[in-house]
Structure formats: C-alpha cells, structure tokens
Amino acid sequence: MAATGDLQIVNFTVGDVNYGVPVEQVREVRDVQAVTPVPGAPSYIEGVTNLRGQIITVMDLRKRLNLEETEDGGEKIIVIELGKAAVGVVVDTVTEVSTIAGADIERHMQATKRLDDYLVGVGKQGENLIVILDLAKIISDAKEDLPEQRKTAATKSPTAKKIPAT
C-alpha cells in the first residue's frame, strides 16, 4: 500500500480549478439526475434526489463555496458518505482517482481559520495544484442548514432566520 502520509483522492473540477476529496469520503460518482427542490432551503441546497432507493440531499458546491455561477458545468454528483447518511455534491467534472505523495501536500496553509477547517491541504500533481477539500466537514458545517434540521437550527443559523416559520 501507499507510504504513510500518502493520500488517495478523487480528482474533480469546478470552473477552472482542480479539486480533490479524500477517497474515504466518497461513496460513488453519478451523472446529475432529476432533483426535487426543497422549499425554504438555503440557495446552495439544490434539493433531494432518489439514489437507488435512498433519499439524499444534493448540494451545489459552486454556490456553497461562493464561486461565480456559470451556464455550463454541474454535470456530476459526488456522493459523500456521512455515517449511514449520504449527501450529493454537484461538481463540473470528475476526472480520476489518484494518489498524492505525502511530501507533495502542504497541509497548513495558514489561511483563515474557517478555510483551514475545510482544507485538507494543497497537493501538487505534475504542474497542477490540487485544492484538497474536506467535503465531509463542509457538509457537516452546512448540516444545520439542511431541511430536516431546519427547525431546531433556526435560532443558530443566520441564514435560517430568513425562512418563514411554517
């Protein structure tokens, strides 16, 4: 197996940027499929979809990361495992599964604390820099915004305040 510190990632892109997510977090990759919108959900939650009988939430990573919106892209869903549950993350393309040597990963970017939390590190692959995201963490932090937890989270979440009580 790979040497200590080596990281296996699923490579994907959003816009022109190369991202990666540790492969342990990924259950599978799918084409985008019909999504049922959920009323009152934050803008980066596209809705819910049926994944072989399991209903999962679908999140638009572009919107979650406050990236510029485009007409193209958003073609693939990376299904991230969160214990027994799963969340679909919409990205532009998924290219491959690869291994980055531990020496090629900068793990302490000294960025803002919040960003450091979401960032596993920045890896080098040939000429390319790969922003390795902790998607599970990003989703977990967003979980308070997820539809099923909306009511309990209403007092904490600034976003949720805008949602009218039903």
């Binding site: 296996q8 699923v10 990924v26 259950r27 599978e28 990759v29 998924v94 491959e96 599964v97």
Partner: protein
C-alpha cells in the same frame, strides 16, 4: 617677463594644439636644443616630453641628415622658409618638415620640425608601383582618364599602339588618340560608365579600321564620387572578319540549298512526266530522251551544287547534326500529331453520331438522374441512422468511463485487496476514452458524408435539369454527370474513413470486453482475499460485491456497445453497396 619668453609662451600655446597630432612635432632653438616635443614624438623615442626638453635633437632622432647641411631645420633657419625632405632613422622612413621660428622682429630663433613615419606609406606605394607594373605588362591597352577625358595613365601596350610612350601621352585627351566612332558621343563606354557608376562594355571601330571591344569602369574617390574612368581595349578585328566570313558562308550555303531544292523539284516533276510519258507511245521515246537529257543536265547541276556543298560540308557538319537531331524530334512529334489528328477525326465522327444518340440518351440520363436522387435520399437516411448510432457509442463510452471511475473508488476504499482491480479500472477507463474518441471521429466522417451527399444531390439535380434542357446543351448534362461521379468518389473515400473509424472503435470496445473478463477474475481474487482477512471481512465483502456489480454493469454496457458497433458496420456496408 621678457619678450622672448612671451614669444616662447605664445608658441607653446599654439604648440598645445599639436599635442594630438599623429606625428612627432619638435621645436628647437638655434643650437638644436629641444624646447618642445609633443607626446607622440616622445612616444616615438620611448620617453616623455619633460625628459627630452633641453637635449640636442640630433641625439634623439639620429636621421641620415642629422648634423649635415641637408637637415631640414638647418635649411629652414638658413632660408627662412619651410623645407621638406625624406630621410631615414634606422629602419623607419621619415617624412620630415622643418619650419623656421621667428621672433617679433623677424629674426630666426629656432625651428619647428614635423616628423611622420611613412614606412607603411612607402610600402603601400611600393605595392601600388608593383600593381602598376602588372598593368604595364598587360597585352591590352589600359587607359585611365579623369572626368575631362585627360589621360592620367596609359600602359605600355596602349602607348605603343599609337606609336608613342606613356609619359608623352599623359595629359592628352583620350579621344584625340584613339579616334573611335564612339569618341565624344554619348555612346562612349567611359561616358556611360561615369554616368551610371557601373562598368560598361561596348564595341566600336578605332583608328585604322581596327575593331575593338572595350570596357569602361568608373573610378571613385574615397567619398564614392566619380572622378574618372579606366578603359581597356580588345582588338576584335580578326574575330569580326571571321564572323563576316561565316556569315557569307552561311548565305552561300543557303543559296546552294535553295538551288538544290529547286532542282529536286524539277527532278520530281520530270519523274512524273516520265511516268506519264512512259505510258504513251514510241513518239514519247524522243521526248523521254530529251527529258532524260534534262534530267542529266539537272543531275550535272546537282553534282556541281554538291561539289560546292562539299566545300561547306566541314563548316556545316555540326549544324547539320544538330538539325538532324531536331528533325528527328520534329518527326516523332509530327507522327504523334498525326495520330492525334487521326484520333480527333474519328472522335469527331463518333461525336456527330454520338450527338444524335445523345439526344436519345437524354431521356435515359433523366431517368438515371432521378434514380440517383432517390438513392441519395436513401443514403442520407442511412447516414442519419449511423450518426445516431455513433452518438450512442459516444454516450455509452461516457457511461463506461463513469463505471470505471466508481470501480476505481471502490478499489481505493477496498484498500490492499482492491489494488489489482484499480489497475483494471484504469485500463477500462482509458479504453472507454479511446472508444469515445473513435466515435467522435465517426461523427465527423458522417458529417463529411452528409455534405458530400448534399453536393451529390445538387449535382444530380443539375444533371437532371441539363437533361431537361438537353436540346439546348448536351454538354452540361455530361459535365453534371461527371461532377456527380466525382462526388460519388468523394463519398466512397469518406465512407472508407468512417469504416476505419468504426472498426477502430469496435476494436477498443472488444478490448474493454477482454479487460472486463479480467475484472471478473480480480473480483473473485479480492473476494477470496477478503475472506482471508478476518479483521475486515464484512467491509471487504461489501466492497468486492460492489466491485462485482460494477463489473457486471460494465460488461452489460460493453455488450450493448459491441452490438451497436456491429449495426454501424452493417449500415456502412449497406450504403457502400448502394454506391458500388
């Protein structure tokens, strides 16, 4: 401050200007004590000016003339005038100028001398002299003139040509010497050379009827301005005479050839006459005899002519050979031309008959054109089918790609047990990519076919139209049909590409199939591996099961793709048959 010192100082002020001079400048008093020497002079003596002032100048330079009446400074102080001489100091040749120095009263108080090393100049002059010597030896007149045509140089040969010597001719006008037809006209090569600043060659007749071939070359000064010209002559009188003789020979041979031609004509006529006469009676015998005499006379003439001709034979032998070669070419060409003309004739005859037939055939063309149109319609329909199939292949390749990606993810999650599978998944992914590329190539080929098909449609329509207007223009119909045929060829070419591309994609997909078989065996391996790994049995089994499921899916898709590809190949074959 005394006057003398003042003068001295004034002189030294002026002398400062001399510091930069590239020659030795030395001032001395009446006793030949050095009162001033410039840097250049000091350097010549490998010393500095302050060390040299006060010394006797003759101890410094030690020229041949030092301390003799020939010393320029001595002469200058004596005559109160500038004196110049060339002298030597060891191996150095020196150009020495002495000028008297006066005080305000006009009395000589010393001299200034100026020494320049002219060793290299002397060498240059020597070389120039040698070069001039070469010109002297040239067995052709060489003359240099200035802009006013005054002779500044003439070599020995040139001078001897006009019965004089070089020294006597320098300074005279060149046109007075050679008196050529071109002299003092704009045709003069020197005039033209000076005007155009380029060498000019001309021919003329010089004094005594001598034919000359001469060249004028412009002479430039250092600034590139024309200051005169050099001309050299070649006597071509003999050449001219030879040419004239040749001309006469050629004319003579032409006349003789004409005569012979005339005589040949006569002989031919006579022969004809003989033919006619021979058929007649004995009366004709006398005429025959006369005619025979004519023939004999003519033969005699021919013999004379031949005799003359033999004289010319040597001169013309070469020409004849060349001519013969050319004639044989002409002959070959003519034979070919004849053949072509014959063929043309036949073709023309055929054409006129064909023209009649063509009118009848127009109806047939019309029918054929509408058949072609129908066929093209069919082709376009089947092309659309193929295009759809190629799109399907492309999509399925995408699906396989994603399955491979998921297989890779599963393999990664399975850890050690999934490693072999990861390799296979990668291979499947690459093959799917190649199949997709091949499918794209197919789509491009299909676009080509569609375009060519459209053109063929237009062609067949125009052929049809031309056939309708057949009475007016048969040619158009034929041209249309030809263009149609070319379009067909083009389509055939493209279909061939398409076939290759599709075959390629089928080949890749077959590879996918064989790799999938390996996947199955790897899955089994990882299944057994996972059984052995007690700690993670549950996890591993789940992973390998998923791998197996993914593999089964891939296999299904591959079967689909192979079926689609087979359909494509069949379709392509079908519409190739439509054309062939």
């Amino acid at each position: 401050m005394s006057k003398t010192t003042q003068v001295d100082e004034t002189a030294h002020v002026y002398l400062q200007y001399l510091e930069g001079v590239q020659g030795a400048v030395v001032a001395i008093n009446k006793d030949f004590d050095v009162t001033y020497i410039n840097d250049f002079g000091a350097k010549m003596l490998k010393s500095t000016p302050d060390k040299l002032v006060g010394k006797k100048c003759y101890n410094l330079f030690k020229t041949n003339y030092c301390q003799t009446p020939k010393c320029v400074c001595a002469i200058a102080m004596k005559t109160k005038k500038q004196a110049i001489a060339q002298t030597k100091s060891e191996d150095i040749r020196i150009w020495n100028t002495g000028s008297p120095l006066f005080d305000k009263k006009g009395q000589v108080i010393g001299a200034i001398e100026y020494l320049v090393d002219i060793t290299s100049l002397k060498n240059e002059m020597k070389k120039t002299a040698q070069q001039a010597q070469y010109l002297e030896g040239v067995q052709t007149p060489v003359v240099a003139i200035n802009k006013d045509f005054d002779i500044i140089y003439i070599n020995k040969y040139g001078a001897s040509m006009v019965g004089s010597t070089s020294d006597k001719l320098v300074g005279k006008k060149c046109y007075d010497l050679f008196k050529t037809n071109d002299c003092q006209t704009s045709k003069c090569a020197c005039v033209m050379a000076m005007k155009s600043q380029k060498p000019v060659t001309a021919e003329t007749v010089a004094i005594g009827g001598m034919h000359v071939h001469y060249t004028g070359s412009p002479l430039f000064n250092k600034k590139g301005q024309v200051i005169g010209a050099v001309e050299y002559f070649t006597d071509i009188t003999n050449l001219k005479e030879a040419l004239n003789t040749t001309k006469q020979l050629v004319q003579y041979s032409a006349t003789v050839a004409d005569n012979i031609e005339g005589l040949s004509g006569e002989i031919l006529k006579t022969a004809e006459n003989i033919g006619i006469i021979g058929a007649q009676s004995a009366q004709a015998a006398e005429r025959l005899s006369n005619t025979m005499q004519q023939v004999m006379a003519a033969s005699q003439n021919v013999s004379d002519g031949a005799h003359n001709l033999s004289k010319l034979a040597q001169e013309t032998a070469k020409n004849v050979q060349v001519l013969m070669q050319k004639m044989s070419h002409v002959n070959t060409n003519t034979t070919e031309v004849n053949k072509i003309v014959e063929t043309s004739n036949k073709l023309a005859q055929d054409a006129s008959e064909s023209g009649k037939l063509a009118l009848k055939s127009l109806g047939a063309i019309k029918e054929a054109s509408s058949d072609v149109e129908t066929t093209i319609g069919e082709v376009n329909a089947s092309v659309k089918n193929v295009a759809g199939l190629a799109d399907d292949i492309s999509q399925i390749a995408g699906q396989i790609n994603m399955l491979a990606l998921n297989a890779a993810i599963e393999a990664a999650r399975a850890g050690e047990a999934g490693r072999g599978f990861a390799v296979v998944a990668d291979a499947v992914k690459q093959l799917a990519g190649q199949a997709g590329t091949a499918a794209k190539t197919s789509v491009e080929s299909i676009e080509g076919i569609t375009k060519a098909g459209e053109r063929a449609g237009v062609m067949s329509k125009s052929a049809d139209q031309a056939a309708r207007d057949g009475d007016v223009n048969v040619n158009e119909a034929v041209t249309g049909s030809q263009q149609l045929a070319e379009s067909m060829k083009e389509i055939l070419g493209v279909t061939k590409n398409l076939e290759t591309a599709v075959q390629e994609s089928v080949r890749y997909l077959e590879d996918v199939g064989s790799v999938i078989e390996q996947v199955a065996s790897f899955s089994e391996e990882s299944a057994s591996a996972s059984q052995e790994t007690a700690a993670s049995i549950e996890e591993q089994t789940a992973a390998t099961e998923e791998v197996a499921i993914a593999a089964a899916k891939v296999q299904e898709e591959v079967v689909n793709v192979i079926e689609l590809s087979k359909k494509i190949v069949t379709e392509v074959k079908n519409f190739r048959q439509l054309w062939q």
